[in-house]
């Protein structure tokens, strides 16, 4: 099942299938370590807070609205 990252619940794991957005966003998200194929775990997903995911050995906070364009396959 493929869903936007914002719909991955706290504690769920997923693999990034696709990221879309403008160039700046793509290069920023890639340079922090999140790219297609990367496995992540949702650490916290609560309203009006940035998402908090665990990926590539660290915790990463991500803006909510931009994260809608990250599609993940729920594992």
């Amino acid at each position: 099942m493929v869903v936007p990252l914002t719909e991955l619940d706290t504690g769920e794991k997923g693999r990034i299938k696709d990221i879309s957005g403008e160039r700046r966003y793509l290069s920023r998200i890639t340079s922090i370590g999140l790219n297609v194929g990367c496995e992540i775990e949702m650490l916290q997903n609560v309203k009006s807070r940035p998402l908090l995911v665990f990926g590539r050995d660290t915790m990463i906070a991500l803006n909510r609205s931009e994260s809608k364009h990250i599609l993940v396959e729920v594992l």
């Binding site: 290069s27 920023r28 998200i29 340079s31 922090i32 940035p50 990463i60 931009e66």
Partner: protein
């Protein structure tokens, strides 16, 4: 010195780059700005063996794309003709993610040294790294250190020499092969066709092609000059997923490089500690952050106490020492001049340094531990409305205690532009001294209505912050460059008290030298402006100016008396009561009232209420609250911004807005009183 070697430090945030820079250069640092840019430039030097190393601490970013001025400056500095060596730093405990910087620099033909930091943390987590194998695969020297611990630097210095004696370039064959064999190989081949065959300066053709693939605006513009605007534009618009492809290739390369190099010997322990669960909690996160900041403020005050003690003793001890100069025939006037300028400037500067020291030490440690990133996370939603990152909430809270500390606290804010914006907003927060002065006046004029005055001031504060954020944000945090939060919350680290203590002390000494001069000059100016041979207010230059321009100040609702007090409040907020007292009760001259030597008259309340109308009083309170906070806050702002022009811009803006607010208040209040 035989050789001067230019070394640049490059690394992602939290890679230990600044720690390495501070440990290497110690007190030999210079912090300024890149010419014409809102980006901080940190340089320093150290001597090792027969060489003098000029080190520059490049701005921290996650990569080398043209996303910000920081990144463009960084890559131009790396590829500059005079760069002898670039040290790429990578956190050994998160090597895969941190090596992205190395993959991004690949193809820039500058010799490299890879420095793995936090090797102790990696070992704790059961990650073993084969440094030799890594060096062989990359074809550059690799060394592992614990950045805050200079005892671990032995191998670093050896490899540094090796890298300089036998400069080598990173082996990029495997990386570029991935690009030319992957699924978007056609696009990459097309990019290679567009770029100059020999590259541009130190940027190789492959590096340029990859950046073109990533739709990098700066590189596109450069290539367009050579290959023509139309073909480049056509290519770039076709390369929609180029950035993703480049990211995939880079991480694929990192994975092959690290295969067999980094070995996990045990699984990581729990991802979130119990403290972290609370620190990021949706209800508890904010109260915990505010609690920790307040606790930090209290600790800072304790750390500042020794400085404060010394500062408080200076006027009496040094003053009486200078007083003895009369025995040598020095005139009383000269002695009083020295006491009122040099001695006072010394005392004030030292007490300011107390704040700066305490705040830098305590919040520097909280930052080093990794907690400030959590604050950034929980306050991101709130502060982003002002164009700021979540961390900016800390200086603003500190400002309720003291604006000097608030300005000093902005050091934890990562980008220079946002730091200056935060300072500009921090000034609008009424400080402890304002809370000491305004309620006294408010109660004198309005009795219980004084509470309403305080509420009014808070409402104005929110409006002020909102408007100031809009005005200053336009250049300091342009909306077009504002991006949603993408930030690492690093694992907690053990704080290094000793290293942080020494570093802060070093820094404070640097600040002292500069700040003392500023405070001294302003003291002298103010001394002469308020000097009166008779000792009465009427004899001073300020009085004559105040009287002359009274028709103008009246427009803002201020008579010459309140206007004088308004001017004095720029030097110190506590001055207001003393100056009013000097004017209305003749309890001393303006200077000594401003600098706190003369105390406010006991009957001040009844005196001022009979002399000042209610609308004027209200306008005055607003003007004073939102005036330049104090001379030391001004000085502290200059220290943090290292930009005289921005410091003056902020100061003039505050004087102007205080007067405008005063005018509005005065005319509005006249409708009621």
């Amino acid at each position: 010195m035989a050789d001067e070697i230019k070394v640049a430090l490059l690394g992602q945030p939290n890679s230990g780059k600044s720690t390495l820079f501070n440990t290497l250069t110690g007190a030999h640092q210079h912090v300024g700005n890149w010419p014409g840019k809102t980006v901080e430039k940190k340089d320093g030097y150290f001597v090792h063996g027969s060489r003098k190393y000029l080190v520059s601490d490049l701005p921290g970013s996650y990569g080398l794309s043209a996303n910000s001025d920081e990144e463009v400056i960084t890559r131009d500095a790396i590829a500059g003709e005079d760069a002898d060596l670039v040290c790429v730093l990578a956190d050994a405990s998160q090597l895969e993610r941190n090596l992205f910087m190395l993959a991004d620099i690949a193809g820039i033909r500058t010799p490299l040294l890879l420095v793995l930091t936090m090797i102790d943390v990696a070992e704790d987590q059961g990650k073993k790294i084969d440094v030799e194998l890594l060096a062989k695969r990359l074809n550059i020297p690799v060394t592992a250190i614990v950045a805050p611990d200079k005892k671990t630097y032995g191998d670093f210095f050896e490899k540094l020499d090796q890298a300089l004696n036998h400069p080598t370039l990173l082996d990029t064959t495997a990386l570029f092969r991935l690009f030319s064999e992957g699924e978007s190989k056609a696009l990459y081949a097309e990019a290679l066709e567009l770029v100059p065959k020999t590259g541009i300066d130190r940027f190789s053709k492959e590096w340029l092609a990859i950046k073109l693939l990533e739709q990098d605006e700066v590189v596109s513009a450069k290539i367009a000059v050579k290959a023509g605007i139309e073909p480049v534009r056509k290519f770039v618009s076709a390369a929609k997923d180029g950035a993703l492809y480049a990211g995939d290739c880079k991480f694929a390369w990192i994975e092959t490089v690290l295969d067999g190099v980094a070995v996990k010997t045990k699984e990581p322990s729990k991802l979130l500690t119990r403290f972290d669960r609370a620190a990021i909690h949706r209800f508890w996160g904010k109260p915990i952050a505010i609690g920790i900041i307040i606790l930090g403020l209290i600790m800072s005050m304790i750390a500042a106490a020794p400085f404060m003690g010394v500062a408080a003793l200076i006027p009496s001890s040094l003053g009486s020492l200078i007083g003895r100069l009369t025995d040598f025939g020095v005139s009383q006037d000269l002695i009083s001049f020295i006491n009122s300028t040099v001695v006072l400037a010394l005392s004030w500067t030292i007490s300011m340094l107390g704040f700066v020291f305490g705040i830098n030490l305590v919040f520097g440690l909280i930052e080093e531990i990794g907690y400030m990133a959590r604050v950034s996370y929980v306050f991101d939603h709130t502060m982003s409305k002002l164009g700021l990152q979540g961390k900016s909430v800390m200086p603003m809270l500190i400002s309720v205690g003291c604006t000097i500390g608030g300005a000093a606290g902005t050091r934890v804010v990562d980008s220079w532009g946002q730091r200056i914006l935060t300072i500009a907003l921090v000034w609008a927060v009424p400080c402890g001294a304002t809370f000491a002065v305004i309620p006294t006046l408010a109660t004198a004029f309005f009795g219980w209505g004084g509470i309403l005055v305080m509420i009014l001031l808070f409402l104005i504060m929110f409006l002020h912050i909102f408007i100031t954020a809009k005005i200053f944000g336009r250049t300091l945090s342009p909306v077009a460059e504002r991006t949603g939060l993408i930030m690492e919350l690093p694992p907690y680290h053990k704080p290094r008290w000793g290293a942080m203590f020494m570093m802060t002390l070093n820094r404070v000494w640097e600040i002292f030298k500069k700040a003392f001069v500023i405070v001294f000059i302003v003291s002298v100016l103010f001394y002469f402006m308020s000097y009166s041979s008779s000792g009465d207010v009427e004899g001073s230059f300020l009085y004559r100016v105040g009287r002359t321009i009274e028709p103008v100040t009246k427009i803002f609702g201020l008579g010459w008396q309140t206007f004088l007090a308004f001017v004095a409040s720029m030097v110190s907020k506590e001055a207001v009561l003393g100056v009013l007292s000097a004017i209305f009760a003749g309890s001393g001259n303006i200077f000594s009232s401003t600098v706190g030597i003369a105390k406010a008259d006991a009957n001040l309340a009844s005196l001022v209420t009979s002399e000042i109308s209610k609308p004027e009083a209200l306008a005055f309170m607003v003007a004073v609250t939102f005036n330049v906070p104090c001379l030391m806050a001004l000085s502290s702002t200059y220290q943090e911004s290292h930009s005289l022009s921005w410091t003056l811009k902020i100061a003039l803006y505050y004087i102007a807005t205080a007067l405008i607010l005063s005018m509005i208040t005065f005319h509005a209040a006249r409708l009621f009183f």
